[in-house]
């Protein structure tokens, strides 16, 4: 026993070293995107408050460019409102009556500020200042004024960590606008402005400059949110599919204010999917 203790004490540094290295390697390997406790992420209470304090200072830095893109977006929306108003007037006149059709808004938005953002890693995340208490839940989509930026990964009480679109492990279901050619968008590296859309069927018609939008096949994003613009077709691994190089619409280096999308039918759709699993297991 004494010998053992002496041995451990003599080589204690190697024991300590091994333990730390093992812990690090475990962290490296098990840092799965989906099963993670909030404590090891930038959305925990301490890191969250440090970042929100710091971002109240640095938040002013990009105001100019953000303002510009907001104004641009505002002008576009204003145009659309005018356009729709005139269409509505025409249609009302044509229809002759004015019974309003009840519509239910399926998606609503939670506005949030970005308090920490990264673009230089292979797996990028950013942190937002809204959490469970504000209705943010894991799996919700996040957009900014220009388009899709990510999906909520873990939500703390007041903060949440979002998997950025610039994360090599994350894929998004997208399609070419005004068509039904669906593919999968991912980011492959280093350049925060470029993404790749894979698995677009070969018979798809497209031209460079076409917009890529969300497909609406997940509960995270409604259909038609812009993601990027096709630059050109690149060589793909599989000959039966196209791969496109895409310029992303959002500028990830300056994202500052975002909106989290809440799908009010999410529970219903998920429970249907769960029901499906149960019934197929029964068989």
């Amino acid at each position: 026993m004494n010998n053992l203790l002496n041995f451990i004490l003599k080589y204690s540094k190697w024991f300590v070293f091994t333990i730390y290295v093992l812990i690090s390697i475990v962290l490296l390997v098990v840092s799965n995107n989906y099963q993670q406790s909030i404590y090891m992420t930038s959305a925990n209470a301490v890191t969250g408050s440090v970042y929100s304090g710091w971002s109240s200072v640095t938040g002013y830095f990009h105001l100019h460019s953000i303002n510009e893109s907001l104004q641009h977006r505002n002008a576009m929306l204003q145009n659309e409102v005018l356009n729709l108003q005139s269409q509505l007037r025409e249609l009302r006149a044509a229809a002759g009556d004015s019974i309003p059709t009840p519509t239910v808004e399926r998606f609503d938005y939670i506005a949030a500020g970005v308090i920490n953002n990264n673009t230089r890693h292979p797996k990028n995340f950013f942190t937002i200042n809204k959490g469970m208490n504000d209705g943010v839940r894991t799996g919700m989509g996040v957009v900014d004024q220009n388009g899709v930026v990510g999906i909520v990964n873990v939500a703390g009480r007041h903060m949440a960590r979002v998997i950025s679109l610039l994360n090599e492990t994350q894929h998004f279901s997208v399609k070419i606008k005004d068509t039904s050619f669906v593919g999968s968008l991912s980011w492959k590296g280093r350049n925060p402005e470029i993404g790749y859309v894979e698995e677009i069927p070969r018979h798809a018609r497209y031209s460079p400059g076409d917009t890529i939008v969300t497909s609406g096949y997940s509960t995270a994003f409604p259909e038609g949110i812009p993601v990027g613009v096709i630059l050109n077709r690149v060589h793909s691994r599989d000959d039966s599919f196209f791969t496109f190089k895409v310029k992303l619409t959002s500028d990830f280096r300056t994202i500052n204010s975002v909106r989290v999308i809440r799908d009010i039918y999410k529970n219903e759709i998920d429970s249907l999917a769960a029901f499906d699993v149960v019934t197929s297991e029964d068989k």
């Binding site: 540094k13 070293f17 690090s24 490296l28 840092s31 890693h121 292979p122 280093r190």
Partner: protein, 162 residues
């Protein structure tokens, strides 16, 4: 240590100079701890500061692992440049104790080792080996320069007090 970690996560990690160079200022903790400190404690400081940076930056394990490995290499690196005797056994590595030539060599080696480890661990299978080498080299030089500056600032303050 807290100051260095905060400087790292709030400022240095957000700046990638020319798209290749990142300064890792927080390894100053490992670099500058006195040699008489037991290796166990040195490893602990290294691991904890690396882990803190990881939690902030969402890179679990990357900095913790590199920092622990760096702490283990500290002694061999320093004593490769100066003889290990009674006089140097308890030295606190800095410009004033080692002189410019030795300290610069020591610091550059440590920065280079750290950058190679960090980029290899994090970017392996993500970018080409060539890019990893470029990023490591550029970051090592940047880290070296900034740490040299930090160290000389700390010295001048110490001297003023005397």
């Amino acid at each position: 240590m807290i100051v260095l970690v905060l400087a790292q996560v709030l400022v240095c990690n957000r700046i990638m100079l020319f798209g290749v160079a990142v300064a890792f200022v927080f390894i100053y903790v490992v670099v500058s701890l006195p040699m008489k400190l037991k290796t166990d404690w040195l490893l602990t400081w290294a691991f904890v500061s690396g882990l803190l940076v990881d939690v902030f930056v969402d890179t679990p394990g990357v900095n913790a692992l590199s920092c622990t490995l760096l702490a283990m290499m500290k002694k061999p690196v320093l004593y490769a440049y100066i003889p290990r005797d009674d006089h140097t056994k308890n030295v606190v590595p800095s410009l004033s104790t080692l002189g410019f030539a030795v300290y610069a060599k020591y610091l550059l080696t440590m920065s280079a080792l750290y950058c190679v480890m960090v980029f290899t661990i994090e970017y392996f299978s993500f970018v080409s080996v060539k890019e990893i080498v470029t990023m490591s080299a550029a970051s090592a030089v940047l880290t070296f320069l900034i740490l040299l500056a930090i160290d000389s600032l700390i010295i001048s303050r110490r001297e003023k007090r005397l």
